[in-house]
Every structure is written in structure tokens, then in C-alpha cells.
């Protein structure tokens, strides 16, 4: 999809759309998918994020996103102090990853109630991002669409069950992917949609047999 506001925009705190704005979005994506405020985060920096991240404020940008900030928040430069004040402990380290995009972060975050997330995402330019791995499973989504992430049993008919509920809710699927850990084990459906998925449809999908968990990301306008 071409969005002219990806060319003229985003409105953001500098200095780099990839190393700063994209990093904020990655942190925020981790927080949204965790579904709660993280109290602890271990952030691995790879490639150019590790090399020139400090000078671009990539560390502060990722922490800002985990605190729920957006790319245009003037508090981004002091996010590490704010994290301490708000009870989020953040650590950074350099990581080695295989075949990863040069601007990649690996975030392991935990909420107060014990919920955890592990997310590997890349900043692909102009502030755009792509999530490459989620809780150990390869995925591919960007946050440019409303995104439904369904963990389910690898069994015939599960995709049909979920997509039927979306169809009933008049939600059109833009992109979709499916990946499983092993035959008959856990599988992960990632569905990007044109319309927001209404709460009721999410509830119905969550109650379908064989559905283990459901995470939803609602597209954000900057």
C-alpha cells in the first residue's frame, strides 16, 4: 500500500526515521502485544542499531515505546529517566542474530502479572517497522493494518472457523499467514485486516475450540 504520509511524514522526534521513530514504534508494538505495562525489559540490539544506536537515541526510543510513547513525543530523549520513575527496568545488550535486517531489536518484556513477550522486529526505513518473530514463531506483519494474532491447535478447520467469524463481522482480510511449530502442535495465524476487528468478534474467536490465545493490534494513526 502506498501512503503519501509515509513520504511526507511521520511527525517525529529526530534524528533518524529508522533509528529513532521506527525504534519507538517497535517498543510500542511490544507493549501493545504484551497487553499491559511492562515492568521489566531486556533489549537486544543488532546490526546498525547496536553500532550507531547510542548516537541516534535508539535505546531511549525503544524504552519510550515500551512506556507507551509515540514517535512524536518530546519526552523520548528522557525516557530512560521516566522508565525508572514509572517502575520499568530496562537493560540493553548487543545480540547476534542470523539473517536479520540490519536495524533489528529483540525485546523480552514482562508485565507485573507475569505475562511475557518475546518480539524480534526490524525498522525497515522511514519509520516503518516489521515484526519478524513473536514468542519463538516466525511472523511477518508491519502494524500498517489492524492485526489479529491467533495461537491455535494445528487441526483441520481452524482457519475456516476464524475467518468465518471475520466474515460475519464484515471484516475484510488484507494479508494472512499461517505457521506451525510441528504437525498437530501449536500454530500461529497472523491476519491483517482492512477494518478494525470488533470486540465481539474477538470474543467469539477466542472461545472457538482449539484456540489457545488471541492478541490484537489496532492500527494507529500518528
Amino acid at each position: 500500500m502506498l501512503d503519501i504520509f509515509d513520504i511526507l511524514g511521520p511527525v517525529m522526534v529526530g534524528p533518524s526515521s529508522s533509528h529513532t521513530a521506527g525504534a519507538v514504534r517497535i517498543g510500542r508494538m511490544a507493549r501493545v502485544l504484551l497487553g499491559a505495562a511492562p515492568v521489566q525489559a531486556d533489549i537486544g540490539l543488532y546490526g546498525s542499531f547496536a553500532e550507531t544506536g547510542q548516537g541516534h537515541g535508539t535505546d531511549r526510543a525503544l524504552a519510550a515505546g515500551l512506556l507507551g510513547m509515540r514517535p512524536d513525543d518530546l519526552d523520548i530523549p528522557r525516557s530512560l529517566e521516566l522508565a525508572r520513575e514509572r517502575g520499568l527496568s530496562v537493560t540493553f545488550r548487543t545480540v547476534r542474530l542470523r539473517e536479520a535486517h540490519p536495524n533489528t531489536a529483540l525485546i523480552r518484556a514482562e508485565a507485573a502479572d507475569g505475562r511475557r513477550i518475546e518480539l524480534q522486529a526490524a525498522s525497515t526505513g522511514g519509520g516503518r517497522i516489521r515484526v519478524d518473530r513473536l514468542n519463538g514463531v516466525d511472523v511477518n506483519f508491519t502494524g500498517a493494518f489492524h492485526t489479529l494474532i491467533v495461537r491455535h491447535q494445528d487441526r483441520a478447520g481452524k482457519v475456516a472457523d476464524v475467518t468465518r467469524e471475520l466474515s460475519n463481522a464484515r471484516v475484510n482480510i488484507a494479508n494472512m499467514s499461517l505457521c506451525r511449530s510441528r504437525r498437530g502442535g501449536d500454530a500461529l495465524m497472523v491476519i491483517e485486516t482492512d477494518q478494525p476487528v470488533p470486540p465481539v468478534a474477538r470474543l467469539l474467536i477466542g472461545e472457538l475450540p482449539g484456540i489457545r490465545s488471541l492478541t490484537y493490534y489496532q492500527r494507529e494513526e500518528d
Partner: protein, 292 residues
């Protein structure tokens, strides 16, 4: 329509009897499924943010490395002395490009256009015309649609990231966007807009991305000045009826091709050009020592 050819946008505008900006606005409405009013409100937000990025400049701020800050104010002071070589508008263009580029390096709020590193070019040519009362908000919004359309075509046919195509892809594209915007503001034709953009891009062809210590500071801030000044001269040439001899789309394709052939040292890796000078290396070492 897909915004992937300047020549097609020009043809579409001419055959429909509309303007360049209208073609871009209509495309945005189709692509994002929004009303023209919603699109214009969003563009209005971009304009206000751009204006703010100029107005909130603070001369005392310094970047992370300490290399950048205060030059916009120096340029303003020199302009005020009455001894500057450039005229009133051009003085403001230079000062504004420096101010916004510096604000970006100092982690202030800017509008990426098309990237954060090139964020000073568009406001540098537009904001002085707004301040002097030579352009009203409506014509500025139209100019922004023109610039977004040009940037979209470059992004589709070539690239807009320094890591992909060098500085020509960032400052070159920003300059093309700004040149087209200026022609639109002065009432030029869609064809003149396309030629202004093509000339601006041509003039910066081959410009490498060689940031000292990998930071968006040196030489990025001052390259915003060259992008802006180049845009003004190309807009004036186009309005005078001067054309790019190489057709606009071919110029864009050529920029993409040159970008792909640039050695990796010249594509934002901080391994070549000014980054590889003894000065550049000393800054890099100092930054690394500071992070340990």
C-alpha cells in the same frame, strides 16, 4: 492511479483538466479510503508540525556528539548584518534549512520529508514564503500534495533511504519535492513541476551518504541547505520554461540505478567519504569510548 510516474501524473492532470496536487489528493483518498476533507486535515497537521519545527528552534541546543547546533542562529545574525551575498528570501532559506536540520539532530520534533535526515529542505523553501505573506495556507497545502506525489514516485521507482541509495536518495529527493512544491506555489503547470523535480534530482545525482560516526549530523545538516537552495534555482528555471533534457521518469530511474551501484561505503555505513577522514574517525572513536 498508482503514483509511480511523474509523466503519468502530468498526463492525468492535463487530460482531466485538473492540477498536479489534485491527482495526488484523489489518489490518497482512494488508497486510504478517506474523504478529501480527512486527507486535507491530515496534510494540515503536517504543515503545522513543519511550521512548529521552524518556530521552536533553540540556538543553544547541541546534538549528542556536540558537533551540531547554533549555526542557524549564526546565519540569521549574518543576514541581519545586511552584508550577506544572498537576497532576503535565500538568506531565510539557508537559515531555516540549518535550524530544522539542527533541531532534528538535537532530538526535537520534525516532519520527515522524505526522511528525518532531509527534514530541513521543504520547510526551508516554504516557511519563508508563509512568513512573508507570499503564500497562504491553501496554496501551501497544495504544494505539500505536489511534494508528496513527487516523493512517492521516487520511492516507487528508485529509493528514498540513504542506506539504499546514498544522500542523493534523501537530500536529492527532498530537493525534487521542494522544487515541485515551489513551482506549484508560483502557479506553474504540471509539466513544469515534473521538470523542476527532475532538474533538482539531476543536480544532486551521485551524492554519497557519509555521516560522521554514523550520526545524522555531519554533513547532513548542511546538505539540507544545498538541497533547499538547489530547489529554488530549479523551480525558477522550470518557471522560466527551461526543461530537463532527460525526461523526468528517466532521471528518477537513473538515480535508483546510481544508488544501487554506489559502493556500500557510501551508503550510510559511515565507512567512507567524510566519515573515513581522520576527523571522522576521531569522532567515531570518541563516541564509542563514551558508550562503554
Amino acid at each position: 492511479m498508482a503514483l509511480d510516474s511523474l509523466e503519468e501524473i502530468v498526463r492525468a492532470a492535463e487530460s482531466r483538466g485538473t492540477e498536479f496536487w489534485q491527482v495526488v489528493l484523489e489518489t490518497d483518498c482512494e488508497e486510504r479510503q478517506v474523504t478529501a476533507q480527512a486527507s486535507r486535515e491530515k496534510m494540515g497537521g503536517m504543515w503545522r508540525a513543519m511550521l512548529e519545527s521552524v518556530e521552536q528552534y533553540e540556538a543553544q541546543r547541541r546534538s549528542v556528539s556536540g558537533l551540531v547546533g547554533g549555526d542557524g542562529a549564526k546565519m540569521r545574525d549574518w543576514a541581519a548584518s545586511g552584508k550577506a551575498l544572498s537576497g532576503g528570501y535565500m538568506q531565510e532559506v539557508i537559515a531555516t534549512a540549518l535550524c530544522v536540520g539542527e533541531s532534528n539532530a538535537c532530538m526535537r520534533r520534525i516532519v520527515a520529508a522524505p526522511t528525518a535526515g532531509a527534514c530541513g529542505v521543504l520547510p526551508a523553501v516554504l516557511v519563508p514564503l508563509w512568513r512573508s505573506g507570499e503564500a497562504d495556507e491553501e496554496s501551501l497545502l497544495r504544494a505539500l500534495y505536489v511534494s508528496a506525489g513527487i516523493g512517492a514516485v521516487v520511492s516507487r521507482r528508485a529509493c528514498i533511504a540513504g542506506a539504499a541509495g546514498g544522500c542523493q536518495a534523501e537530500i536529492g529527493t527532498a530537493s525534487a519535492m521542494a522544487a515541485g512544491a515551489l513551482v506549484s506555489l508560483r502557479g506553474g503547470t504540471p509539466e513544469q513541476i515534473a521538470h523542476a523535480a527532475a532538474m533538482a534530482l539531476k543536480n544532486l545525482l551521485g551524492l554519497i551518504c557519509d555521516p560522521v560516526a554514523g550520526l545524522v549530523e555531519v554533513p547532513c545538516v548542511k546538505r539540507n541547505v544545498v538541497g533547499a537552495v538547489n530547489a529554488v534555482s530549479c523551480a525558477d528555471m522550470a518557471l522560466a520554461g527551461i526543461q530537463s533534457r532527460v525526461p523526468p521518469d528517466q532521471v528518477i530511474d537513473c538515480m535508483g540505478d546510481v544508488g544501487c551501484r554506489l559502493p556500500v561505503e557510501f551508503r550510510e555505513t559511515a565507512l567512507g567519504g567524510l566519515a573515513a577522514t581522520p576527523f571522522g574517525q576521531s569522532v567515531r572513536e570518541r563516541m564509542h569510548a563514551g558508550s562503554e
